[in-house]
């Protein structure tokens, strides 16, 4: 890593990231030895938080650039394997890393909609969008809308949807960064957000997409090591096999037995049941709605789509989608194991036991404000299920202690959670700032701006957006998972139809696409705001995290009908669509395209 990142860097990625991984493991082992020698826990927590942020900052500074193509699309040199890792980190946020396993713990089968929804969308990305957007080969997603739908109206609509979805999402990430940083270095939540913010800015500001790409690869490595270590250890300890994804079946069986003895009416594995353990159509419908909205949202979120602008060619864009889903899969198919092991521990060692002799991890976490509460309501000295309340965010964070691992592993998990939140925040921030600087400033306000000036504007906007997002997060507007799910619905309702139809249906006209976007996004936003803030009753019981269930079909229908009522796109536009469908060869030129 001692040299400027250049062509030589890309050829040596294996060696560089191999050394980096080895170094990180060695660092963890050294801290483990220091812990045995009596170094206090707080110092170990500091080491993990500041050292990892320091490494990301170092990569960010090494990757500084003054080249537009490097800044916006990492010079289009990222190999598919590494782009897969970067997408994995870009994708997996605080919600995936910290909250999801806890959600599965609390919700059982019904919460698996999140696992399915946050993976299945990559099939849509790989088949319907990524290769064609790569062939199109400009800088941003609104670029595509502006060219395909001939003009600035479509471009502005795209930027508005992008901004609303990504901004909601980034607020959730700042929130997560605040929680982790404040817990592990012991400063107030509001201050912790701004410490995290420095970590984000220093990664992305100087090097844009290039810096974010190589930092995200580094962050993926840390987050996956951190996520797998405690649960692999526990699986080995309980069942003698270091593959938790296989062994938690045995845990599930034990849980089922314990549920009977404890008299729990809602079994962990039973599908679509309500709190009373009865089959419920409301749960059933919400399960599908959420799966669909999250999957389609995946294929519409600009910070994910723009990762596929960075591969060397169309073929690599497709392969890179495969690697992305593989690296994401590693975490997602492990999350249910976390939930099962935690539940087994709680049902077998906590519930029904004397309060005076609960396991150490329960006692430790019950002292941290409000995350785990034990209240002996009937004063019998025994803990009943209803007397035990656990926050979903601590399932992953407390797993090292449940597994009986030293504190150093807790520090490792914190570093992993921080890597997950920072990497997603970086990607989102760049998506927003690029849309504002490239699509609004350069394309609309000052098309004659020099390269230098465009980069200055891009960086200034990056800082402004970051500060505003952190300030909003400081007001604690809603829970992490909820905010993230809203972001997916907004993106799905506004962007999916115009992107997919623009490529797959030549007959789509500009006016059709624009009206489709407006109506789909409009109804989604209306449902979300009206049900959340104005007590509007839910339609058919569908919760507002799945608002796109209404917006998505409407966007397709409106685009379809209006397109058929208006004159077909010009021959020139049809040739352009033909040219993005074929990997080889030049793009047919259209009047709204710039040559860069």
């Amino acid at each position: 890593m001692a040299y400027r990142l250049s062509g030589g860097f890309v050829n040596n990625l294996g060696k560089i990231y191999g050394t980096y991984t080895g170094g990180f493991i060695a660092f963890t082992i050294i801290l483990a030895i220091m812990e045995q020698m009596g170094v206090p826990n707080r110092v170990i927590g500091y080491c993990f938080v500041f050292l990892t942020i320091g490494v990301y900052a170092y990569i960010g500074i090494l990757s500084r650039t003054t080249d537009l193509s490097e800044y916006y699309v990492a010079g289009r040199v990222v190999p598919p394997f590494y782009n897969g890792m970067a997408t994995g980190a870009d994708w997996m946020s605080a919600a995936s890393f910290i909250s999801m396993a806890g959600g599965l713990y609390l919700g059982g089968y019904n919460a698996i909609g999140y696992v399915l929804g946050w993976t299945g969308g990559y099939v849509l990305v790989g088949v319907l969008l990524a290769p064609y957007l790569r062939k199109f080969g400009q800088f941003t997603v609104p670029d595509f809308l502006g060219v395909r739908y001939e003009g600035n109206t479509a471009r502005i609509c795209g930027v508005i949807v992008l901004f609303c979805a990504s901004f909601t999402y980034i607020v959730a990430q700042c929130f997560g960064i605040g929680i982790i940083t404040s817990r592990f270095i012991g400063i107030p939540f509001e201050a912790a957000i701004f410490v995290g913010l420095l970590g984000i800015l220093v990664c992305s500001m100087l090097g844009g997409m290039r810096a974010v790409t190589w930092t995200q690869v580094a962050q993926y490595i840390i987050l996956i090591i951190a996520y797998l270590t405690p649960v692999v250890w526990l699986s080995t300890k309980l069942y003698g096999l270091p593959i938790p994804e296989l062994t938690y079946g045995q845990a599930l069986q034990k849980i089922a037995e314990l549920e009977k003895t404890l008299g729990i009416v809602k079994p962990h594995v039973s599908a679509f049941t309500d709190a009373k353990g009865q089959f419920s159509w409301v749960e059933f419908n919400n399960f599908w709605a959420l799966c669909l909205c999250l999957m389609v949202g995946t294929a519409s979120l600009p910070h994910i789509l723009m990762r596929y602008f960075t591969t060397p060619n169309v073929r690599d864009a497709r392969v890179s989608v495969g690697w992305s889903i593989f690296f994401i899969f590693l975490l997602y198919f492990t999350a249910p194991a976390y939930a099962a092991f935690a539940k087994l521990e709680v049902y077998s060692a906590v519930i029904g036991k004397p309060i005076a002799s609960l396991p150490a991890w329960v006692q430790n976490w019950s002292q941290v404000g409000g995350l785990l509460t034990i209240r002996d309501a009937n004063n019998d000295g025994i803990l009943q299920l209803s007397e035990f309340v656990i926050n979903q965010d601590i399932i992953v964070l407390s797993m090292p202690e449940i597994a009986g691992l030293p504190y150093v592993i807790s520090g490792l998990v914190a570093a992993g959670g921080l890597a997950a939140a920072l990497s997603t925040a970086d990607g989102l921030l760049l998506a927003i700032a690029n849309a504002l600087s490239h699509d609004i400033y350069y394309k609309l306000i000052d098309p004659k701006a020099s390269t230098m000036r465009r980069l200055v504007v891009a960086r200034a906007l990056l800082v402004v957006v970051a500060i505003v997002a952190a300030a909003v997060a400081g007001t604690r507007p809603a829970g992490i998972i909820q905010m993230v799910a809203w972001a997916f619905s907004l993106a799905a309702a506004g962007l999916f139809a115009p992107l997919v139809l623009g490529i797959w249906w030549k007959r789509t006209t500009s006016i059709g696409a624009i009206l489709g976007m407006m109506s789909g996004f409009g109804i989604c936003l209306y449902y979300l705001v009206a049900t959340r803030y104005f007590d509007m009753p839910l339609w058919f019981g569908i919760r507002n995290i799945s608002s796109a269930l209404w917006g998505l079909p409407l966007a397709f229908v409106v685009t379809w009908i209006v397109s058929l009522m208006t004159a077909p796109p010009s021959q020139e536009m049809q040739d352009f669509v033909d040219s993005i469908r074929v990997p080889k060869g030049k793009l047919a030129w259209t009047k709204d395209m710039s040559h860069e």
Binding site: T119, G120, V123, G126, G249, G322, I325, G585
Partner: protein, 88 residues
């Protein structure tokens, strides 16, 4: 567009590409939705401790997604090569 393709070749290329797209979309619908419609019934089958309905949602469909993405990449690449439109 690749300059050396005739209109017929281009249409044939796109027909094949679309066919692949529809096949993968059908499998996607199957693994994302159809399988899980029967989760309650599938849960009666238990393999290695996993009720099958639960397993499909927690792991089975995810494995299918990974396979579908790599399969799409290689199948589409074959189509590209067949029509001589793969990149060098």
């Amino acid at each position: 567009m690749a300059e050396n393709l005739t209109r017929e070749q281009r249409d044939a290329y796109w027909a094949k590409t679309s066919r692949l797209m529809w096949i993968i979309m059908a499998l996607w619908v199957f693994f994302s939705f159809v399988v899980h419609f029967f989760a309650v019934q599938l849960n009666n089958i238990v393999i290695a401790g996993f009720p099958l309905g639960f397993y499909m949602a927690a792991q089975g469909s995810l494995i299918a997604y990974v396979v579908l993405c790599f399969w799409n990449a290689s199948a589409q690449n074959k189509i590209d090569e067949e029509f001589g439109v793969a990149e060098d």
